[in-house]
């Protein structure tokens, strides 16, 4: 880490390699930070397993009796709440003084990109674990596993991208937990609806050509949200 703390002006045009190196350092910082505060990570893992188990018991522990539509919707709702909780902490975890320090060493674009990549990885782990537990206790009716998993991947990227900026906004306000929920529900909804549809198709084992429209829309929404996060975060950052 030591070698990368070279001081640079806040809004410069970095040479490509140096900028990538800085991004790498920031990413490493995210992971190290998470690893040092393992209780938060373990908390998230336990959160999703616990939520799955609560649903399992609430449905009276009868596996294989849920209709596909209930099975699918329930899983995505669990994932949505987990995502909101997991991403919400990405800006409150660090003290304000430290942000001031980042401001002097890196550009806002690098910060948001590193946060989004980190949150994507976190969401991938969480959704993978969630899916495994969910399929283990409630049965696995999915017929097209590859498509289902790719919908999970697309969902993780989309959730991470759209929620990271919202978390940044909410962290600036007081009462940020409520605000996080209020702001993020409508923002992730178009994505969630599309994901539900694709994963339902995967569940029923429909031909993949049926899902092409939805997948393209999801990728487009992901792209819009990613680009906007990159464009808007510098302004959020400065306040």
């Amino acid at each position: 880490m030591q070698g990368k703390r070279t001081k640079v002006s806040p809004v410069p045009l970095y040479p490509m390699t140096q900028s990538l190196q800085q991004l790498g350092a920031l990413m490493r910082k995210e992971f190290v930070l998470e690893w040092r505060q393992r209780y938060a990570l373990n908390g998230m893992l336990l959160y999703i397993v616990g939520a799955v188990f609560v649903c399992y018991l609430s449905f009276n522990a009868r596996r294989g009796q849920l209709t596909p539509i209930v099975w699918n919707t329930l899983f995505w709702i669990i994932l949505l709440f987990t995502a909101i909780n997991a991403v919400a902490k990405s800006f409150v975890q660090e003290r304000a003084g430290r942000f001031l320090y980042y401001y002097t060493v890196a550009s806002p674009l690098q910060i948001i990109v590193s946060k989004i990549i980190y949150n994507t990885v976190l969401m991938l782990v969480l959704s993978g674990l969630g899916f495994a537990t969910y399929a283990f206790v409630l049965g696995n009716p999915v017929q097209d596993i590859a498509l289902y998993i790719s919908s999970l991947v697309l969902g993780s990227v989309g959730f991470a991208a759209s929620l990271t900026l919202i978390a940044g906004i909410a962290a600036k306000a007081e009462n940020s937990a409520t605000l996080m929920a209020v702001l993020s529900f409508p923002v992730v909804l178009p994505l969630l609806l599309m994901l539900l549809r694709v994963s339902k198709n995967a569940l029923d084992g429909l031909d993949r050509s049926v899902s092409v429209d939805e997948i393209v829309t999801i990728i487009a929404i992901d792209a819009i949200v990613l680009v906007l996060s990159g464009l808007l975060f510098p302004f959020l950052w400065r306040s």
Binding site: I169, K172, A173, L189, P190, L193, T217, A220, F235, S239
Partner: protein, 218 residues
């Protein structure tokens, strides 16, 4: 004359109301005379989207300039758009009650719009949670642009991928193509212009009010 467009707005809306209520319309099953609602319900939504777009543009301008006046303009455009949205919901409810049998049928377009309204109510809540004015303006401008970018796929793309009762969705033809006769079209487009001008007028009054408040506070 400086305020010609206000007079124009009144004239156009007057024309739309009169021509819309007495003008000739095609006789269609189920729709019958309720087709006249197309002059009021649809233009309200059109102008709502135009107002929201203007608001997003002013939020972008605010981020570039830091001028608090741009923030005021952006907020007031959103507020007016919300009022228009509520009116659109009301006129739509009345219409749906007669043609589809219930005031709020489970239709993707309606649900999308409800979520879109939630997006902008969340915007007001976000604004309320800041004390510092500059911070409030900057952060809500960021959210406003983000919200508009989500609002567009929500309204224009998502409903088109499913079956909807609305024309123009789920493979139904859009209303411009088959559903509207040539006698209706001029009245409809006048409605869009008239309601948008009215929205701008309301917004302008509110902005002036806010400017005076800001001066009084200083």
């Amino acid at each position: 004359m400086k305020n010609w467009w206000k007079a124009l707005s009144v004239l156009i809306i007057f024309f739309v109301i009169v021509a819309g209520l007495v003008g000739p319309t095609p006789r269609l099953p189920i729709l019958n005379e309720s087709i006249r609602n197309v002059y009021f319900h649809v233009p309200l939504w059109f102008s709502m989207i135009i107002l929201l777009l203007t608001s997003a543009i002013y939020s972008g301008k605010y981020l570039r300039s830091g001028n608090p006046d741009h923030d005021r303009i952006a907020v007031e455009f959103t507020n007016t758009a919300l009022v228009f949205g509520l009116m659109g919901c009301l006129t739509g409810s009345v219409w749906a009650n007669f043609t589809w049998g219930e005031p709020w049928p489970n239709d993707p377009k309606l649900n999308s719009v409800a979520v879109g309204m939630l997006l902008y109510f969340a915007y007001s809540i976000l604004r309320g949670s800041f004390d510092d004015e500059q911070r409030r303006a900057r952060i809500s401008a960021v959210y406003n642009i983000f919200a508009f970018a989500v609002f567009v796929p929500l309204i224009f793309i998502v409903p088109r991928l499913t079956d909807s009762l609305h024309p123009g969705n789920g493979g139904n033809p859009a209303f411009g193509q088959y559903n509207m006769s040539n006698q209706m079209r001029p009245i409809f487009y006048s409605g869009v212009i008239g309601f948008t001008l009215l929205g701008v007028w309301i917004t302008e009054l509110r902005i002036r009010m806010r400017r005076i408040q800001a001066v009084l506070e200083d």
